[in-house]
């Protein structure tokens, strides 16, 4: 039944764990829609025929000018219809929450869209253009941003899509059911070559993925439909396999981050990065915030919005000066430091202030 309807409705393969569930709602909704439209039209057509002028003139008893329909019927139909819409809404909203909230253990990959290509960066240091390698059977969380205009990351086989907005981070997660290849399409109009901004997700068996990640096995051959378009750069190019944490250190040094922030817990002008990621820190204007990707990015792009208590308002904005890949690398660097304890002798990992309970909140 599933296969039949999927074929009739021209839906692509159900390659992610949520695809089949979404398709079931799809069938329900589309059948009701088609049925409703046909039903209304048939009733309308029947009335047109039954109450046609010639028939009414022959049989005047059919004519009932000004009769209002039974009001209860109308109320029942409207309530029934609204009830059905509510069912769609409830199921749709629950599925939407599933789509939007990634599982805790998801593998994170950074995606950058630019006119007109996709770039993928892995925390372990690998990166690729146009082809996203993921392990099958394991949730993957994409952290997306754009270098220029708005794009949209769409994998029809997964039934998933998310806009890729410059100056913002958005996320999308999925779990590929089994090894295979799937189209990536850009669905937000982004300029002259919008329609060629395509790519491919290649889901690998977990061990294959590990080997690929270490640069041992470039582009394994995977069975599956291959789209014979003139492809942009789909080759995997392991020019230099640098761990993202190392990249982050390099970027942090280049951009002068380390002039104010330390990596080992020594107090300095800005909060140290040691043990910072994942904790909850108090803010200057009251309240507190969890140090996650969103807050770190905000602090780089727009540092004065939420200032950590006890630090001066001296950090400049890096908006437009730091590349998205560097942002991601710095975040990875901070993640790698989450378990670093302060050096012996340093007063507190938070620099010059002592912070109450919240300090141990995250880790």
């Amino acid at each position: 039944m599933n296969e039949l309807l999927r074929t009739i409705l021209f839906l692509p393969r159900q390659a992610s764990t949520i695809a089949e569930e979404i398709d079931k709602l799809h069938y329900f909704v589309i059948i009701m829609t088609m049925g409703g439209a046909l039903l209304v039209t048939l009733i309308g057509g029947y009335f047109l025929f039954r109450y046609r002028r010639t028939a009414v003139q022959k049989d005047p008893s059919r004519r009932m000018p000004g009769t209002t329909p039974a009001i209860w019927l109308e109320v029942v139909v409207v309530i029934g219809l609204f009830g059905m819409f509510l069912v769609w809404w409830v199921i749709g909203f629950r599925q939407f929450m599933d789509i939007r909230v990634p599982p805790e253990n998801a593998l994170e990959i950074y995606v950058t869209g630019k006119q007109w290509m996709w770039k993928f960066a892995y925390p372990e240091g690998a990166n690729s253009i146009a082809t996203l390698y993921v392990p099958a059977g394991r949730p993957v969380k994409l952290i997306l941003t754009s270098r220029d205009v708005i794009h949209s990351f769409f994998v029809p086989d997964f039934r998933l899509k998310e806009d890729v907005v410059p100056g913002r981070l958005t996320t999308l997660w999925f779990e590929a059911k089994e090894p295979g290849r799937h189209d990536i399409l850009c669905t937000e109009y982004c300029g002259v070559s919008h329609s060629t901004m395509r790519g491919e997700v290649i889901a690998l068996a977990p061990d294959e993925y590990e080997r690929w990640l270490q640069g041992k096995s470039p582009a394994p051959a995977i069975a599956g439909p291959v789209d014979l378009r003139p492809s942009p750069v789909t080759e995997y190019a392991p020019a230099e396999l640098v761990n993202m944490v190392r990249q982050g250190e390099r970027a942090a040094a280049e951009h002068g981050c380390l002039r104010c922030h330390t990596l080992d817990g020594t107090p300095h002008l800005g909060p140290t990065w040691a043990g910072l990621y994942g904790t909850t820190v108090p803010l200057e204007n009251g309240g507190s915030v969890k140090v996650d990707e969103a807050y770190i990015t905000e602090s780089m792009m727009d540092p004065l919005v939420r200032i950590h208590v006890g630090y001066q308002r001296i950090m400049p904005s890096y908006l437009g000066q730091i590349r998205p890949a560097e942002t991601s690398a710095i975040i990875e660097l901070m993640k790698s430091l989450r378990d670093v304890r302060p050096k012996p002798g340093a007063s507190a990992p938070w620099g010059t202030v002592t912070v109450p309970e919240t300090r141990e909140g995250g880790q």
């Binding site: 021209f10 829609t33 057509g45 047109l48 000018p65 205009v149 029809p156 907005v165 669905t187």
Partner: protein, 555 residues
Amino acid sequence: MSQATIDAETRPDPLGVGADHPDYLRADSGLRSWLLTKDHKRIAIMFYVGVILFLGLGGIFALVLRTELLTPEQTFIDANTYNQMFTLHGITMVWLFMIPAIPTVFGNFVLPIMLGAKDLAFPRINLASFYVYVLSAIILLGAMVAGGADTGWTFYVPYSTTSPTAVTWMGIGIFVNGISSIMTSVNFIVTTHTMRAKGLSWHRMPLFVWASYATSIIILFATPVLGMSLVLLALDHAFGLSLFNPRYGGDPVLFQHLFWFYSHPAVYIMILPSFGVISEVVCSFSHNQPASYRAIAYSSLGIAFIGFFTWGHHMFVAGLSEFDAGVFGALSMFVAIFSAIKVFTWVATLRGGSISFATPMLYFLWFLFLFVFGGMTGVAVATQSLDVHWHDTYFVVAHFHFIMVGGTLTAFLAAAHYWFPKMFGRLYDERVGLLTSVAVFIGFVFTFLPQFLLGNGGMPRRYFTYPARYQWLNVLSTGGAWLLGAGLILALGNLVIALKWGKRAGPNPWGSRSFEWITASPPSKHNFEETPEIERSAYEYTLSEEVARERAKAR
């Protein structure tokens, strides 16, 4: 010969009120008498010519698009031209055809007559509205020649601010177009409030007036927001104002909020007038009063109101919070309920009627199917998890074309046939009318039904080239588009031929009870020489015509 009172038992004047005066087409002559006219009917005719021209232009753009999509790779135009074409198709169709079409042509023509008035409240503003429309069209056409635009009609930043095309002038042209819409809608609202004939209470008005009134309210409150966003966009494109530019901390998503705050209600600006047309057509041809007058009248206001709070459903995957998405999704379903009430009421109106079948009625039948299907797919795309897949694919394209073309264009054609005798005093050829209507319907279904499947398959909109697996559906769609185009040209040709060679219509060829049919066809310059007193509703069909005639005789 004028008629002072119109009540349930008055026998209509066989020649129509005002038949002893020269009709509006002949009352004055010369080009000047047209270009400087303050007569709402002549202004309506000028708008008619304008919107038909732009329907043609937008149609040509559409056919170029569809033809290009015959093959997965480049067919006959390059990517730049293609991107220009879909943008210009959208801009032309939305602002130069859909939004003005029914209100400025048929609203202008029949609304004052329906109210028993001699003209709109502000004839000069009405004429100015036409010239502002022409000005906006000139600016937009100028911009099309001088660089065009390749941003899509939605002008999403930051792409639109960096596009090398004439985005600034497009923004200005649309801003000016909005001024024209606002002028017309102020005129309609004020006319409805102050110029109803004596005795014509709100609940006696024809339903078309209610629909126009609700439309005008939306135009009045939504258009300025669009105007402002486009001014900001134009200033950004021209001078780097950068209010939405991430480089200065701006948020591109704010533009989307502002844009859709207008452009979602704009969907109702485009569809509500066609609800009005359909209500008139159904009642007139089934010779029956609406199954529930109030349901139709008030649901228009309901749509106008709720329509302002659903814009977020265009942004489910743009980073809207889950909570907001849920609220916008639920509100969108409310709007559908109001539309459903209307559909049920139309169908129920047929029951117990005495239905004469003519071209407008056939268009009503198409409307019923296309609008219900299009509307319910609208609820489908408001279902969040499904929208994630469908967003910005051909499914959405098919959905809104079902509403805009299947709904509004079909209603526009119904209105063009229905009021043709009133506007020009002649009858079009009924058989040709029915045939072209069938051609339009089949062409439409072949154009847009495959696009639902394309969307299911995942083909994104605004794609110049596409994966080869989508080709056969695209070929079907292109074939349908050519048939649709041919059907439209034939339907228009049928009406144009009837202008000169059609049979004389008489004041009321359809046997309608609505007030515009009391006047002569075509109406005299002042519609009613003496403002009538109206003592019945516009749908007084309970007294059959025979009974009414006998009673009149007995008196």
